[in-house]
């Protein structure tokens, strides 16, 4: 099935391409992939083909980005994506336990570091590397929102408010 962009996405992509000099539209690739993922939650092969044509590159040029940058996804994740910081300052503040507790609560593997999704597709969780909030660890993100100094109680609230 070919990818049909929403009007908003088409407009946004056209605008993004103007941010780069004549003949350098390839530069827009990462921003275009973000725009697709922000809307659809992931980047399908069809979406890459569509975007490649808009930008004027080969689909391969986008695929090599999707497989390189950790934030970009080829598969739809859960409705709420939780990223728990794994790196030192957060680990010292309890980040490892935070990840483990949430995984146990969601019946996911507490030892897996990569992305895993609950059966009902509501939550995905993964470890992320230093999220630049190390003074207020442990830190986690729920979709685009940052949460700092996340205690077990606070993590329950965060998960509870996901509807």
């Amino acid at each position: 099935m070919p990818f049909t962009p929403t009007e908003k996405l088409s407009t946004e992509v056209a605008e993004l391409i103007t941010h780069y000099p004549e003949g350098e539209s390839r530069s827009a690739s990462l921003m275009v992939l973000h725009a697709i993922q922000d809307e659809a939650g992931y980047i399908s092969a069809e979406a890459m083909q569509w975007a490649a044509a808009e930008i004027g590159v080969k689909p391969m040029h986008l695929y090599e980005l999707v497989t390189f940058y950790p934030m970009l996804r080829e598969e739809p994740p859960g409705k709420f994506v939780l990223k728990v910081c794994r790196t030192l300052s957060c680990a010292m503040a309890g980040g490892t336990e935070l990840h483990k507790n949430i995984c146990n609560k969601l019946k996911l593997d507490p030892n897996a570091h990569g992305l895993q999704t609950t059966e009902d597709g509501k939550f995905s969780i993964e470890f992320a590397e230093c999220l630049a909030s190390c003074g207020t660890g442990p830190v986690m993100m729920c979709n685009n929102d940052f949460h700092e100094a996340v205690t077990e109680e606070k993590s329950n609230e965060i998960l509870g408010s996901c509807e």
């Binding site: 390189f68 790196t87 030192l88 010292m92």
Partner: protein, 438 residues
């Protein structure tokens, strides 16, 4: 009593201060830009050349990690240049332990934008980018809003404030890869490619940067300082801090202290010990705890061990009396890097701390260079094994051996960034590493 000195963070956390243009202007915002644009030519010296000289004279050093003179970096670009000159603000903020640039991006974005506009004017730049880490989704929105406000006011766009200079700034988002912080990796990423760092020489950004054109890459904090240099004048700016370590620094303090957070200090006027123990800063370790180690400049800097003493000049000083600046930290064998201090107390298993960092580097190596790609993985595997009950007597030497085979043999400084923690942890805490095998 050592105090904070608020120059860049003067407004960010002030009561009632908001991140919109109106508030910024009410607090004197964009006056420095008008001042810069009003500079008259002095004989043969253009206003732009005067500004560049001023930044050089201020002694401003890069705040992104390497501490290289900003004015000197700018001087590598020739003017007039047959190619367009680009400027990129490095807002990737991804060195573990560092959380200072986000304070400005989120709370005082116009300060950065004003610093950038002045820097672009000074370097004949008509198109600039802010490369911001992908997880700062909100930060990117805030910057876009601020850029739109600046555009509407004529600070950006065609003929800014009647100066005859055109300038556009766009936000470009990264997508979760640490290596995008390395300036040539960043440039590749901005060109729409994988962030594979380029080899220097020949790809020095000042000559062959973005689109093979001269490009200036500066950290958020560095560019903000440019605005203050214009506002204060180079000489008064250079009086802040200590000789050759001028101005202020934003310090990110995390780990085992009572009061972690970000602090702005006059560079070199506060010691490591004061940053950790003083009530105005870290407030000391938690009850009953003693210091074990300090990572002084982001995870890539060499670790310091409690009780170490160093010969600085004629005198022998304790680790805690080391002034927090660029030069002294270099003299004692480490670096102030991104200004991020991670404090480790005696309750921590030091091998586990290193294992945590090794996993970071194994995850973030871009994979171009065999020593880095394989070495970072081997170090991570060995450390994982050691912290999971399977250490061997020869592991300490094995780790050092791998690290030695990485540093100096790679395309970019990530090689050093992943080797240095391993080399320094193993050297200074050898007993702890050997004890794992018992």
């Amino acid at each position: 009593m050592p105090q904070e000195y608020k120059l860049l963070l003067k407004h960010a956390d002030a009561d009632g201060y908001s991140n919109d243009l109106e508030c910024y202007e009410r607090n004197g915002g964009y006056a420095a830009l008008r001042q810069a644009l009003a500079i008259a030519p002095a004989g043969d010296t253009t206003p732009q050349a005067q500004l560049r000289k001023s930044v050089l004279d201020s002694g401003l050093r890069g705040r992104g990690g390497a501490g290289f003179s900003c004015g000197l970096k700018w001087s590598f670009v020739r003017h007039p240049n047959p190619k367009p000159v680009y400027l990129i603000c490095n807002a990737d903020e991804s060195e573990p332990g560092t959380f200072k640039d986000r304070q400005i991006i989120y709370k005082d974005p116009h300060q950065l934008i004003e610093g950038m506009i002045i820097s672009c004017w000074a370097n004949h730049v008509n198109l600039a980018y802010i490369y911001i880490r992908g997880e700062f989704t909100e930060g990117a929105k805030i910057l876009n809003t601020a850029l739109a406000e600046a555009r509407a006011k004529g600070y950006l766009g065609k003929n800014i404030l009647g100066s005859g200079h055109d300038l556009e700034i766009h936000v470009h988002r990264g997508a979760g890869a640490y290596i995008c912080g390395e300036e040539t990796g960043l440039i590749e990423s901005l060109e729409g490619k994988r962030a594979y760092p380029r080899i220097k020489p020949p790809y020095f950004p000042a000559a062959l940067g973005l689109y093979m054109c001269p490009t200036i890459v500066n950290n958020v904090e560095t560019l903000c300082n440019v605005k203050h240099i214009v506002e204060m004048g180079a000489e008064p700016f250079a009086k802040l801090g200590t000789p050759n370590n001028t101005g202020t620094r934003l310090v990110s303090l995390s780990g085992d202290v009572k009061n972690p957070g970000y602090f702005e200090i006059e560079t070199g006027k506060v010691t490591l010990g004061e940053l950790i123990q003083n009530e105005n800063f870290g407030g000391g370790l938690r009850e009953g705890r003693t210091l074990q180690a300090i990572i002084p400049g982001g995870s890539s800097s060499k670790v310091l061990k409690a009780g170490e003493t160093f010969k600085v000049g004629e005198t022998e000083i304790d680790l805690l009396d080391v002034p927090y600046d660029f030069d002294t930290l270099m003299k004692i064998g480490t670096m102030s890097g991104s200004g991020a201090i991670i404090v480790i107390d005696d309750s921590r298993d030091i091998v586990e701390c290193l294992a945590n960092l090794a996993e970071f580097y194994a995850h973030e190596s871009c994979g171009q260079c065999t020593p880095c790609r394989e070495g970072s993985l081997w170090m991570n595997k060995a450390l994982h094994r050691m912290t999971h009950g399977d250490a061997r007597a020869e592991d300490a030497d094995y780790l050092k051996h791998i690290a030695h085979n990485i540093q100096g043999r790679t395309i970019c400084a990530f090689g050093e960034a992943c080797a240095w923690p391993v080399l320094s942890f193993v050297e200074k805490f050898r007993d702890e590493f050997e004890a794992k095998a018992k």
